[in-house]
C-alpha cells in the first residue's frame, strides 16, 4: 500500500449562498483546490462528489456526471457518493483506497450541499429521507425525535443535566468565533442555548445545526505527486468505515454506537496510535448529545464521562484534546454531504500550521468522524503531519 496524502484544499464559507448554485459552489471549491496546487483538471485521474440531499432538494441526480461536465473533466471517472452525513468521509475513504492501491495517482474529492433555498419543512423531510422511507415516512417520527430519545436516555443513565450536554454547543461556537469559514462565527452563552425554542424535547434549537450551503474540496494523491505539486501536505494515516443497525428500535442499547467504536478502534490500529496520541478531533455533532457520546465512543474518556471532559476545558483549543477546532457541525455549519470533506480541510489547516487563531499547538495527528442516521454508517479518518 502506498502512502496517501492530501496535497491541496479549497472551500467556500459555510453560509446561505443565495447567489450560488450547487454547481457554483462545487466549482468554487474545486477550482480553488486545483489552482492552489497549480494543477489543470487534465492532470486528475478521478473525481468523487459527495452530497446528501441534491436528489431531494434540487431534484438533481447524477451529480458526479453533472459536476464533471462543469469542470470540463472528460478523461477520468466521476462517481457520486450519497450516504447522508457520511458522504464526505466515504468519498475521502474511496480516494484514499484508490491511491493507496495504485489504481489512481491523483483524485479530486469535493463535498457539496445546498439546503438554504428549501423551506425548513422540506429540509426536515430531506433529513428524514436518509431513513427507511417505506416504513417511517409519514409516521410522524422525525430525525429530531429520534435524537431526543437518545438524549433523554443519556441524561438518565448518567444522571446529568441538559445544561451539561448543551455546553457542547457553547464550546463549538467559541471555536467558530475566530473561524472565517464558519456559518455562525460568534459565541453563544449557555443561557441562550437553554432559552432557545424546543424542537423535540429536550433538544433546543441552538443544540442542532441550521440548514446551510457549502462546498469543500481536497486533492488526494500519492506522496510522489505531492512532491511535484510542492505544497505542504498531510498524510492520510487511516480510513475506516463501519455499520450498525439502521433502525433505532432494533438496537438493544440506544447509547452503544457500535459502529463508531469499531471504526475508530480499527482506524487507531491502522494508524498505530492510541486515542491519547490525538492532537485534535473533529466530531459529527449533529446533536449536542451525539458530540458528547462521540467523546466516549472514540475512547477519549470513559463511558458517561463525556460531560466531565467537556467541563474540564480540555476540549478547548488550548486544552489537551481540542475538539471541533473550527466550530464543528453546530457552528462551522453542517452542509451535510460535505461535512467529511470540511473536516479533512480543517485537519489539513491544523497539520500544516495554517489554522490561524484556531491553531492547535504542536498538532501532529488528528481524527475526523462523520456518520449518517445516528452512526448507522460511520467513517473515521486519521490524518498526520508529514515531516
Amino acid at each position: 500500500m502506498r502512502e496517501v496524502v492530501i496535497a491541496s484544499i479549497g472551500y467556500t464559507r459555510v453560509s446561505e449562498h443565495w447567489e450560488k448554485s450547487l454547481k457554483g459552489l462545487f466549482m468554487e471549491a474545486s477550482l480553488k483546490a486545483l489552482e492552489n496546487a497549480g494543477l489543470n483538471v487534465k492532470s486528475l485521474d478521478g473525481l468523487y462528489v459527495a452530497n446528501a440531499f441534491a436528489g431531494y432538494l434540487q431534484r438533481q441526480t447524477n451529480l458526479a456526471n453533472i459536476m464533471a461536465e462543469s469542470l470540463g473533466f472528460f478523461d477520468g471517472f466521476a462517481i457520486s457518493i450519497d450516504s447522508g452525513g457520511a458522504s464526505g468521509g466515504i468519498a475521502i475513504h474511496e480516494a484514499y483506497n484508490d491511491v493507496a492501491r495504485g489504481i489512481r495517482d491523483i483524485v479530486l474529492v469535493c463535498g457539496v450541499e445546498k439546503m438554504s433555498e428549501a423551506s425548513p419543512q422540506d429540509v426536515l423531510l430531506a433529513q428524514m429521507s436518509v431513513g427507511d422511507q417505506e416504513h417511517f415516512r409519514f409516521s410522524g417520527i422525525t430525525i429530531h425525535s429520534l435524537a431526543a430519545l437518545i438524549y433523554k436516555t443519556y441524561m438518565k443513565r448518567f444522571n446529568v443535566k441538559q445544561e451539561d450536554i448543551a455546553l457542547m454547543s457553547v464550546i463549538s461556537h467559541e471555536h467558530a468565533s475566530t473561524c472565517s469559514h464558519a456559518q455562525f462565527p460568534f459565541k453563544v452563552s449557555l443561557e441562550a442555548v437553554m432559552k432557545a425554542p424546543i424542537v423535540s424535547d429536550p433538544i433546543r434549537a441552538l443544540e442542532i445545526p441550521a440548514p446551510c450551503d457549502g462546498a469543500a474540496a481536497v486533492i488526494v494523491c500519492s506522496h510522489e505527486k505531492a512532491k511535484e505539486i510542492g505544497l505542504p501536505h498531510i498524510k492520510i494515516a487511516a480510513s475506516r468505515i463501519a455499520r450498525d443497525s439502521f433502525n433505532l428500535n432494533e438496537r438493544s442499547d440506544l447509547l452503544a454506537m457500535e459502529a463508531l467504536v469499531r471504526a475508530s478502534r480499527l482506524a487507531y490500529e491502522d494508524a498505530r496510535i492510541k486515542p491519547s496520541d490525538l492532537s485534535f478531533v473533529e466530531l459529527y455533532d449533529d446533536y449536542t448529545v451525539m458530540g458528547v457520546l462521540a467523546l466516549e465512543k472514540l475512547g477519549l474518556c470513559e463511558p458517561g464521562e463525556g460531560v466531565k471532559l467537556l467541563k474540564s476545558g480540555e476540549v478547548s483549543l488550548k486544552g489537551a484534546m481540542p475538539v471541533n477546532t473550527f466550530g464543528g457541525l453546530k457552528a462551522r455549519g453542517a452542509p451535510v454531504g460535505a461535512v467529511g470533506v470540511y473536516q479533512a480541510v480543517e485537519a489539513y489547516l491544523q497539520l500544516v500550521d495554517s489554522a490561524g487563531a484556531n491553531q492547535v499547538k504542536n498538532a501532529r495527528v488528528g481524527a475526523t468522524y462523520c456518520g449518517c442516521c445516528f452512526n448507522s454508517i460511520v467513517v473515521v479518518n486519521i490524518f498526520e503531519r508529514c515531516c
Binding site: F138, S139, I141, T142, T153, I198, V199, L254
Partner: protein
C-alpha cells in the same frame, strides 16, 4: 408516495405484523427480507403483541408539513410484551400524563394524507392502557 407503496405496508400499519426468522426465532419489525443475525431468508409473518411498555418518549414541536394540526405530538419507543421494540407516535394522552414505563396498547389512527389519489391513510400508534 404512491398509493401502491402505502398499500404494500398495510399489514404493518394496520395489524402490527412483522416477521420471524425460522432458523433463529428472532422477530423483526418492520419485516426484513433476510435475518441479519443468521442470514436466513426463511422468514414467516408474525403478529406482534398489541401491548407493551413505553421505554422513552419525546414531545415533538418541529414537525413536517401536514402535521401542523396535531403539533405538538409524542413519539415514543415502545417495548412490546415479546421484547420487540417499535417506534411510533403515542396518542390519546395529555402531555402532562405521560410517564416512562407506562403500559400502552396499539391502535389505528389516521395520518396526514400524503397521496395524490387522496385516499385516507392510517397507521399504528400507541395509547395508554385504560384500566
Amino acid at each position: 408516495m404512491a398509493t401502491s407503496a402505502y398499500w404494500r405496508t398495510r399489514l404493518c400499519r394496520y395489524r402490527l405484523i412483522g416477521n420471524r426468522c425460522q432458523s433463529c426465532d428472532r422477530v423483526f419489525f418492520p419485516p426484513r427480507f433476510m435475518c441479519p443475525y443468521c442470514n436466513s431468508t426463511k422468514l414467516e409473518e408474525c403478529k406482534l403483541p398489541d401491548r407493551g411498555r413505553l421505554l422513552e418518549y419525546t414531545i415533538v414541536y418541529s414537525t413536517p408539513k401536514g402535521y401542523e394540526a396535531m403539533t405538538p405530538y409524542v413519539v415514543g419507543l415502545v417495548e412490546l410484551e415479546n421484547g420487540v421494540r417499535v417506534l411510533a407516535q403515542i396518542t390519546d394522552v395529555n402531555l402532562e400524563n405521560i410517564k416512562e414505563g407506562m403500559e400502552v396498547e396499539a391502535c389505528i389512527r389516521r395520518i396526514p394524507e400524503q397521496l395524490e389519489e387522496k385516499i385516507i391513510c392510517y397507521t399504528y400508534k400507541f395509547r395508554p392502557v385504560i384500566k
